[in-house]
């Protein structure tokens, strides 16, 4: 089982693909998501989103804020402004 991840910024898609594990900087502390997590909508603060790709590589995306929604193993991370 893998996670489908979309990371979008206001003007473009930053990254999309499959992953096995994702951590994101939620406002009340970092949140880690594995397949089968309960559906969640969370506000994100500034920090680094870490995506462990299906191939095993790590991918880091800096964000200044945004939110994240997770359901049925589909993660959408909406970044306010992001630099790769």
């Amino acid at each position: 089982m893998a996670l489908t991840v979309d990371i979008v910024a206001p003007d473009r898609v930053l990254w999309e693909g499959e992953a096995t594990f994702v951590t994101a900087p939620a406002v009340e502390g970092s949140i880690g998501l594995l397949p089968g997590h309960e559906p969640i909508l969370s506000v994100l603060g500034a920090g680094v989103v870490k995506v462990v790709e299906a191939s095993g590589d790590d991918r880091l995306v800096d964000i200044t804020g945004g939110f994240l929604s997770f359901d049925h193993d589909v993660i959408t991370i909406v970044a306010e402004r992001a630099e790769r």
Binding site: D11, R12, I40, F67, H72
Partner: protein
């Protein structure tokens, strides 16, 4: 007579050089329009994600939020008109402004007071020329709006919407922009952006029931964070649509200008030719009659 010919020649020349300018502007608009449409497409995933999330929050909790509830106690409504910075785009800005004036009349007939905001130099000059007061204006990059500018506009408008009534708070926000339907069809649209109406039941992929979300930290905070983003995304989308429409209008206006210039060149070439011919004819008849007069004497 020779003077007449010279006048025609000069006109042909100047029209030809204008034609070159029109052609260049047409090509520039055509090359930018692809980029503008790409940007509309690139912004779509973001606004789709936000819309989905908002409808999920609205589904699972009865959260009241200032941005979604009607405001009482004031008749002021804000209106943002998005126009071009430059002309040369046919009736693009005029159409948007006309749509704005119409809806303004409608609002005023309903007893509301309109607070005007304008984006785009053409809109700003339209209102300042008529000595209408502008509550806010933004100019500079109407054919390639950045997200930063959209945020600035959204922040200003949200501030006006959330301000207390005594400080000039407004009850509604309307946005007039030109919707880009296709390369050949763009129409001005007036939408009411605030207070928000949350459209429920956004079609979900698959037929599972909507999942029960957990909210982190809680539903109110999530909505608090989401709604302003949503307004920003929608204003940004309006501006991108308007930019694509502006460029499409400019391209077609310049295309028409090029063919008009060609018509004028053709017409003046004919006139110049007939002027030259009549000049020759006259010279010949002068020579002939001169020779006749000499022979007769």
């Amino acid at each position: 007579m020779a003077g007449q010919q010279r006048v025609y020649k000069a006109r042909i020349k100047s029209t030809q050089s204008l034609k070159k300018i029109f052609r260049a502007m047409e090509l520039i608009a055509a090359s930018r329009i692809g980029k503008a449409r790409d940007r509309v497409a690139a912004a779509a995933p973001y606004s789709r994600a936000i819309t989905r999330a908002i409808s999920a929050v609205a589904h699972h909790s009865d959260v009241e939020h200032p941005l979604t509830s009607k405001r009482l106690g004031t008749d002021r409504v804000a209106m943002l008109v998005i126009t071009a910075d430059r002309g040369m785009a046919g009736a693009y800005s005029a159409n948007a402004l006309r749509a704005a004036e119409r809806s303004r009349e409608r609002l005023e007939a309903a007893g509301k007071e309109v607070v005007q905001y304008a984006a785009g130099r053409r809109g700003v000059s339209y209102y300042t020329f008529r000595h209408r007061e502008l509550a806010g204006s933004w100019t500079g990059d109407s054919d390639g709006p950045t997200h930063a500018v959209a945020n600035e506009i959204a922040a200003e408008l949200l501030r006006a919407f959330l301000a207390p009534v005594e400080d000039g708070g407004v009850a509604e926000l309307h946005v007039v922009y030109t919707h880009f339907a296709s390369m050949v069809s763009q129409e001005p649209r007036v939408i009411r952006m605030l207070p928000l109406e949350i459209v429920e039941g956004v079609p979900e992929v698959g037929d599972d029931a909507e999942p029960l979300y957990a909210f982190e930290p809680n539903a109110e905070d999530v909505l608090d964070a989401l709604l302003p983003r949503y307004i920003e995304a929608r204003i940004y989308n309006c501006m991108l649509q308007a930019a694509a429409s502006e460029l499409a209008n400019r391209q077609s206006a310049m295309n028409t200008a090029v063919s008009n210039a060609e018509d004028i060149v053709r017409q003046y070439t004919r006139l110049a030719n007939s002027a030259r011919q009549s000049e020759i004819t006259q010279e010949i008849s002068e020579i002939v009659s001169g020779a006749d007069a000499l022979a007769a004497s």
